[in-house]
């Protein structure tokens, strides 16, 4: 790391340009995700009236209102006074400025007495309370028209999350996703580890052929499998008189689709374990089963972890396998499917879409940031699969 930066320093672009361009790239890559995160905690009316990037600064709006009508005036010595608040009950914000003519809605700053002429003075404090005095009785029957520039502080809420988790089926989909993902991550590891051990440390005819087949199968597109498997599943379902869309069915599908990469990654790692350890265990009379369980499995932890993360991300984020093998019924939808369905039914409701999207991506993001090291290692070890 240090040596590379040293060597590139000699290569030499001005350092500042490097810093600025990396900063620009980082911002560019972060902004899309930030956008939905911020939007998901905004008030649903504010989402539709202003861009999410404005939500941190208080938004200022110009509005019209009326002061209290003359009948509410009190007499204080020679002058008459009307007091009150320009805000209605429950309304909040900070008054920045005010005016009495529509052409100049922000003529006077808040907090300072404004001379309106004809002996009238109006003071509006920033909290909305006002004092309106006149050196004689007020005339007319309606309150004076005023114009206000009001700043509303940014308002954030978790209501959107409540809505999607309970009302939009995202909570249910979350559990469905977990039900699909956890076994579909653990089962292939077990099966692939046994196979990888056999392909690394046991000799039998056809080993090289099986390894070549595994490497070849890594890139076989999922699309090739869909039609025959769908037919097969339907036949099996008919045969047993049950639905063809079961959790067991999708676990097996994910297990099988992840299997080539799993075997490839694990075999590369397990074949690289020191020969001496395994041979001395054999000399001591350990069976292959014992060697695998007690020596190979613990030693292969980094590779197992790398693959587990891959498989977890792939299964959690998968849409195609889920909609084909688990169906699109409301109680069977996984998170990606539910989100896709919401895009259709709630196309413009960004408070629902963004909150749902964030629920969908939060688990993989946590896994990603927590276990990035293993993910990178896995990528470097087996960058041949195309997802």
């Amino acid at each position: 790391m240090a040596s590379l930066s040293l060597r590139l320093k000699r290569v030499g672009l001005p350092r500042l340009i490097v810093h600025l361009s990396v900063l620009a790239i980082a911002i560019l890559w972060l902004i899309p995700t930030l956008g939905i995160l911020v939007t998901s905690i905004r008030d649903k009316d504010q989402i539709t009236t202003s861009g999410w990037w404005t939500s941190f600064s208080s938004s200022t709006q110009t509005s019209a209102g009326r002061l209290g009508d003359p009948s509410t005036a009190r007499q204080e010595g020679a002058s008459y006074v009307i007091t009150g608040s320009v805000f209605e009950q429950g309304q909040g914000g900070t008054v920045r400025s005010f005016g009495v003519r529509v052409q100049e809605p922000a003529a006077f700053p808040a907090g300072e007495p404004a001379d309106l002429g004809e002996g009238e003075t109006l003071t509006i404090e920033s909290d909305g309370s006002y004092v309106y005095t006149k050196n004689g009785p007020f005339e007319g029957s309606r309150g004076k028209r005023i114009y206000l520039t009001v700043a509303t502080p940014p308002e954030f809420t978790l209501t959107n999350y409540q809505t999607v988790l309970q009302g939009e089926g995202i909570g249910q989909a979350f559990i469905n996703s977990l039900t699909v993902t956890i076994p579909a991550t653990i089962i292939p590891i077990l099966i692939a580890a046994f196979a990888a051990y056999a392909l690394s440390w046991m000799s039998f005819p056809g080993r090289a052929l099986i390894i070549a087949m595994v490497v070849g199968l890594i890139v076989v597109p999922l699309q090739m499998s869909l039609i025959p498997l769908l037919r097969l599943y339907n036949e099996v379902g008919n045969f047993f008189g049950t639905s063809s869309k079961t959790y067991a069915g999708i676990w097996l599908a994910h297990t099988a689709f992840g299997m080539p990469l799993a075997i490839y990654l694990l075999r590369n790692y397990i074949a690289g374990l020191p020969k001496e350890i395994i041979e001395s265990a054999r000399v001591d009379g350990a069976s292959d089963f014992e060697i695998f369980l007690k020596i190979v499995l613990p030693l292969s932890f980094p590779a197992l972890a790398s693959f587990a993360i891959f498989q977890f991300l792939w299964v959690w984020n998968d849409l195609l396998v889920a909609i084909v093998f688990l169906g699109t019924g409301r109680d069977q939808l996984v998170l990606t499917g539910a989100l896709n369905a919401l895009l259709g039914s709630r196309g413009g409701n960004w408070e629902i879409l963004t909150a749902s999207a964030f629920v969908t991506i939060i688990v993989p993001l946590l896994v990603f940031f927590g276990l990035q090291r293993y993910l990178v290692r896995g990528l470097l070890a087996g960058s041949v699969k195309g997802g």
């Binding site: 790391m1 040596s3 590379l4 930066s5 672009l13 350092r15 490097v18 361009s21 990396v22 790239i25 980082a26 890559w29 972060l30 902004i31 995700t33 956008g35 861009g51 559990i175 039900t179 076994p183 077990l190 692939a192 046994f194 196979a195 056999a198 080993r207 099986i210 390894i211 070549a212 070849g216 076989v220 597109p221 699309q223 090739m224 499998s225 869909l226 039609i227 025959p228 498997l229 959790y247 676990w251 599908a253 297990t255 099988a256 292959d288 695998f292 959690w316 984020n317 849409l319 990606t336 960004w350 879409l353 991506i361 993989p364 993001l365 896994v367 990603f368 990528l379 960058s383 699969k385």
Partner: protein, 337 residues
């Protein structure tokens, strides 16, 4: 809700347990069936040999069974189905292939797939390489790398929602809440319905995949760059090469193999792109690609397995050269051991 969690956990435990039980039990059965603790030494050693012959297949059994059912058999079955009618009952010869050849939707999909293939792998590799070079030079480079790498963890569907929000369109007079249209109006342009602009909308969808995959390219290429021997660059510096020349003539040629791996990996991914198109446009406005067309034909009007099989085979044919190259490479590595 609670009952679903309980039953889910229960089913999970049973599923994993059954799987573990198989290995344990099959090993036990093998040992019992071929005992070695008899007095008869020749029998014992014969049994030991038999165990050694059988055991690999017990270990490999479930994996091979799954690969066979879920990947090998379907490849053959899809090939056969492509010669049959929509229900898979009547042999129709090359009719499905003929249909594909003359179908406008199919041609549109091929065209779009080629467009994706031309742009996405190149863009990901290029950006990945540039970011890898830049971030390796600064102290907070790892943070920047994490940020660029992060979209890898986001599902295509999630990413589509994220970008659909960026492309969101409001009428010309309204406040734009989509970032892109807000920028365009700020610069004095007219807001557009980006994902419904034929031809160009393909590129707006590609941006999503580039956003996701650049991190992958960056990680792999960054590791390769670190593996470049120091001396080669020092020699170039001494010879008076400038930064640009060192990058293109010294560094890039040395990581050519890695670039090829990154390129092909992303190429395979692009050939299978499905989720993004499904969620963004569902193939409308001329954005259809092969994987989506295939999915469409799988279910459209009760499904047409013949046509859909032909489309799957086209994707398979495009992947095959890479597959052969990978197998050769793996065999060469194995030979080198």
């Amino acid at each position: 809700m609670v009952s679903q969690i309980v039953s889910a956990v229960g089913v999970m435990i049973v599923g994993v347990f059954v799987c573990a039980l198989y290995y344990w039990l099959s090993d036990k059965v093998l040992n019992l069936a071929l005992p070695v603790r008899d007095g008869d030494v020749t029998q014992a050693s014969r049994n030991l040999n038999r165990r050694a012959v059988i055991r690999p297949w017990l270990f490999l059994g479930p994996a091979l069974l799954l690969l066979g059912i879920y990947l090998v058999y379907p490849v053959v079955a899809t090939l056969i189905l492509s010669f049959y009618d929509r229900g898979g009952q009547t042999f129709v010869g090359l009719a499905n292939y003929r249909w594909a050849f003359f179908d406008a939707g199919f041609r549109q999909s091929i065209f779009n797939n080629i467009l994706w293939l031309a742009v996405v792998p190149a863009a990901c590799t290029f950006f990945g390489l540039v970011i890898a070079v830049l971030t390796d030079r600064i102290w907070w480079g790892n943070i920047a790398k994490s940020i660029v790498f992060m979209p890898m963890a986001i599902s295509f569907v999630g990413a589509s929602v994220i970008w659909k929000f960026i492309y969101e369109y409001r009428g010309a007079g309204d406040t734009q809440i989509g970032l892109l249209n807000a920028l365009v109006t700020m610069l004095g342009g007219n807001p557009q319905v980006w994902i419904a602009l034929p031809f160009w909308n393909n590129f707006f969808l590609m941006v999503i995949l580039i956003w996701i995959q650049t991190g992958f390219a960056m990680v792999i290429l960054s590791a390769a760059l670190r593996g470049i021997p120091e001396e080669t660059i020092e020699a170039a510096v001494i010879d008076g090469a400038n930064g640009w020349q060192i990058f293109w003539k010294i560094m890039v040629p040395q990581i050519w193999g890695t670039i090829a791996v990154v390129w092909t990996t992303i190429t395979i991914l692009v050939l299978k792109v499905f989720d993004i198109v499904l969620t963004m446009t569902n193939g409308q406005w001329d954005t259809m690609v092969l994987a989506n067309l295939m999915f469409d034909w799988m279910f459209r009007g009760g499904g047409d397995s013949g046509r859909s099989a032909v489309i799957a085979l086209v994707i398979m044919a495009a992947v095959t050269p890479i597959m052969i190259w990978n197998i050769r490479q793996a065999n060469r590595d194995a030979g080198g051991h």
